[in-house]
């Protein structure tokens, strides 16, 4: 290799093995020991804190796992070196793999087989309680009271009540409502609240707020099935249940007409007369393959799925191939020896990659605006035409690919440049001596060697773009929409379509359905990437 090789843009300091060895050496011995101890102490401190929280919240499965894991970490890093050396390197990676990859995947799978969505968030016991509360209704001529909790002569909890409408005053116990003489009770003019009652001591301040459960359980039975119930510390309302829960049969009965609401196995109590009539809230439960069945059977989801899948594949493939082609072309051009301002060109070309993607995408959305964007308004209009970049289904696809290529090209430029410089010049020179043309050398020698290095990156980039939510969502939002459905616009890829399924259908927030699609996407990407990897392996073997 000649000594005049062009430097790469961010040139590392001259490589000297001595420096690294010295740096490593500085961390062995006492300073290293201290750093290690500090890290371990911090980890243990964190674990003890977490153990307290877990114990406090009665997570009896997670707690032993935490303790065992922490003990394992201590042993690995404190035990004599020759027993645990490989583990020292494996443990941190494994922990992060578990925390950031395996756990989310497990959760996604769990959600995909559940009905987790609006109306199905809490557990069944909580849902039954909430249905009972929701079913309470003020009876005809139901009364509302301002109240003051108090103690009678024997110290028992009672309520002093002031009827809003009639002005009558009462004392209420858990058994009955008894009228009091108006003269015996003082009522605040501003709030209507009883402030004093003869023969009773009002409960105030912190003592009052500490009686939350007692107040909540305080029911004064009145006529029919009604009862006066407290609402906070200063209100009470006469309420009547409209539903009755039959614990033995696990069903609700509507009191007015006797209609039965049964558990439908999908996390709801549903009327036996009208299956659309269900009680809210429902609860979260496992529904097996229900979500996958919905995707397969409901034309609302099935029809766009195939269309979206084809476009997703095209989008990811075109983005990667075009970016690679352009990046490689520019890299070859800039790899030419003796080119002036080489570093400047290279730095400028990396800018789109160095800028935060969010910003670039929002700026591009503005630039491409049909009527007011710079591209149409200031450039194309001079040539007598404009392009509906974001409002036409096909042009929007072009825009999305254009911007994605703009964002991805610098990456492949950098990668190709690096790979090109690692190809021994002897090989291309030998080919030239053998009489190969420039194109022939590139196709037969340079490209195959390059693909060994870049191939896996192409696959990774494909997988990334397959799920490139930001590019789609920030540029077109999945639009424009053709046809009659807004579930999938013409630039929606699978992941943005999933997002819309999750937030903008039915009652909104159908996480179960969205997770089912996420799992399908995972299998698609895994299959494509897996196949491609085996192919690139084969390529490697040829050389």
């Amino acid at each position: 290799m000649s000594t005049a090789t062009a430097p790469i843009p961010a040139e590392p300091p001259p490589f000297s093995p001595g420096r690294i060895a010295r740096a490593i050496a500085a961390f062995s011995g006492l300073p290293g020991q201290i750093i290690k101890l500090a890290f371990l102490a911090a980890t243990n401190g964190l674990a003890v804190w977490a153990a307290y929280v877990l114990a406090d919240r009665k997570h009896w499965v997670a707690l032993p796992i935490l303790i065992a894991a922490t003990a394992a970490i201590d042993i690995v890093y404190l035990a004599p070196r020759k027993w645990t050396l490989p583990l020292k390197f494996l443990v941190p990676g494994t922990i992060f793999l578990l925390a950031f990859q395996i756990v989310p995947i497990v959760y996604t799978i769990e959600v995909a087989f559940s009905n987790y969505s609006t109306g199905h968030v809490i557990g069944k016991a909580d849902a039954i309680k909430a249905i009972q509360v929701n079913s309470l209704q003020p009876p005809a001529n139901g009364r509302q009271f301002e109240i003051a909790p108090a103690r009678d002569a024997s110290g028992k909890l009672v309520l002093i009540l002031h009827d809003d409408a009639s002005g009558a005053v009462y004392v209420g116990t858990n058994k009955a409502l008894t009228p009091l003489a108006k003269a015996d009770v003082t009522i605040s003019k501003d709030t209507g609240q009883p402030t004093a009652a003869k023969g009773y001591t009002l409960i105030k301040g912190a003592e009052l707020f500490a009686m939350d459960a007692q107040l909540k359980a305080f029911n004064i039975p009145t006529r029919g099935g009604s009862a006066i119930q407290t609402q906070g510390v200063s209100q009470a309302v006469e309420l009547q249940p409209t539903l009755r829960y039959d614990k033995a049969k696990d069903q609700f009965v509507r009191i007015s007409d006797g209609v039965v609401f049964k558990d439908n196995g999908q996390g709801s109590f549903v009327s036996s007369v009208n299956p659309k009539d269900e009680l809210e809230p429902g609860w979260k439960t496992y529904t097996g393959l229900h979500n996958f069945g919905k995707l397969a059977n409901n034309p609302l989801y099935r029809t766009p799925f195939l269309k979206v899948f084809v476009w997703t594949f095209a989008f990811a493939t075109l983005t990667v191939l075009l970016s690679f082609a352009i990046g490689l072309f520019v890299a070859i051009a800039l790899n030419k020896k003796g080119l002036r301002f080489q570093r400047l060109y290279r730095s400028v070309l990396v800018v789109p990659w160095a800028m935060p993607g969010f910003l670039s995408l929002l700026i591009w959305a503005g630039l491409l605006n049909d009527s007011f964007g710079v591209v149409n308004n200031k450039i194309l209009s001079h040539f007598g035409f404009t392009v509906p970049w974001l409002f036409d289904a096909n042009w929007a696809k072009v825009s999305v690919i254009l911007v994605s290529v703009w964002l991805t090209t610098p990456y492949f430029f950098l990668v190709s440049l690096g790979a090109l410089q690692s190809i021994p010049e002897e090989l291309t020179e030998a080919a030239r001596v053998d009489g190969g043309g420039a194109w022939g050398i590139f196709r037969r020698v340079t490209l195959p060697l390059l693909l060994i290095a870049v191939g896996p990156l192409l696959i990774a980039s494909f997988a990334f773009n397959f799920n490139n939510f930001n590019n789609i969502y920030l540029l077109t939002g999945g639009g424009p929409y053709t046809g009659s459905s807004s579930i999938a616009g013409s630039t929606d890829i699978l992941i943005s379509y999933t997002y819309k399924l999750a937030i903008a259908t039915g009652k909104g927030q159908d996480y179960g359905l969205a997770s089912a699609v996420a799992i399908i996407i995972f299998f698609i990407v895994a299959t494509i990437s897996g196949t491609a990897f085996f192919r690139s392996k084969a390529l490697e073997n040829v050389n």
């Binding site: 109306g119 309470l136 809003d164 209100q235």
Partner: protein, 410 residues
Amino acid sequence: MQNSLKRTWALLGVVAAISAIAASSAGASHKAGPTITIWTDSDRAAAVTKVANDWAATSGATIKVVTKQFGDIRDNLGTVAAADAPDVITAAHDWTGQLAANGLVEPIFLSSAVKANFPSYTLNAFSYGTAVKKLYGVPAAVENIGLVVNTKLAKVPTSFSQLETEALAVKKSKHQTFGIAVQQGSGGDAYHMYPFFSGLGGYIFGTNKAGNLDPSDIGVANPTFLKNAHLIDKWNKEGLISSKVDGSAAQNAFLKGQSAFWITGPWNSDTLKKSGLSFKIIQVPAIAKPSVPFLGVQGFMVTKFASVHGVDAAAKDLVTSFMAGAGPQTTLAAANGRPPANIKAKSSDPVLAQFSNASKGGVPMPNIPQMSSVWGDLGQAWVRSTKGAGAMTAAKSFKAAARSIAAKIG
């Protein structure tokens, strides 16, 4: 080997000592007395802290205010662990259906004296129930959009045809592609288009016998609206409105005097004050029906976690008795630049007062969870029919939207 084992034990001892210190500090953070945790957004955090602490001074409670992104308050409430969950949340009224259907919020009752201080629509906005309708929040602030008129460029219109004439005259003289600056963009914006929608006779959900919104009665393409929909095609043809105008394009056009009419809300009142333009804010003049805006109400809810934490009574007292009062309402609404909901707590801001006046007859955004199936399709119906050349006829576009919404609600 002996040596290194000894060292290992010594090191374990050091680690254990440090752990013990960490543990003792972790255990010391408990405190007596009821603690009320409130989730609110950053705009209102200071005001909520102040109001809640004023209340706590009389009740002996401890207040813990947690600041979140506004939308996260709704989304995190379903996933948070009970121990970290809030007892009181700041909420938008259109979350009511979703949160109540999820069983995450508690119904509350207001005394008739307190109720009398709130316009009935604000209470209605926070009420939800498929069988029994219940109140789930205390309103604190209201917001709605209005038509901002640049009085130097155009007269304040008294009829829609006058608005149309004035807007088109300015469009012509300033060589613009649209008359009224109302934001849509390729994603659509059913919220800002609602005055036109309601003026043409459109509605979103009808009400059933019990007075609740009925998701099976979708009025996006009702006969009255379809009869008037040809006006949209006319507006599209003459360029009165254009779906290519997005938020920033609409704002720029008005602030630079290229459009005399801008449809926007109180979140831009500072922008308007700083613009130096002379303007007046009115309701969009009636078309076939009054062109009323959507109303948004923000307020406070008590969560189901309050009973779990044993502070249900305290949380309800804070929300229903204290935060509903005129004084706290003024503080809470001012923190967010909105007029207060309590009619006794008038805002002194003249621009906000003008926006308030534009709300007359307005409709609270539907608060049932099925509304999430509506926004996208209704916005797209406008985008398709007002994109200039090549637009779909309005009748066809809105009929398609109604079909899609019905299919999504299922």
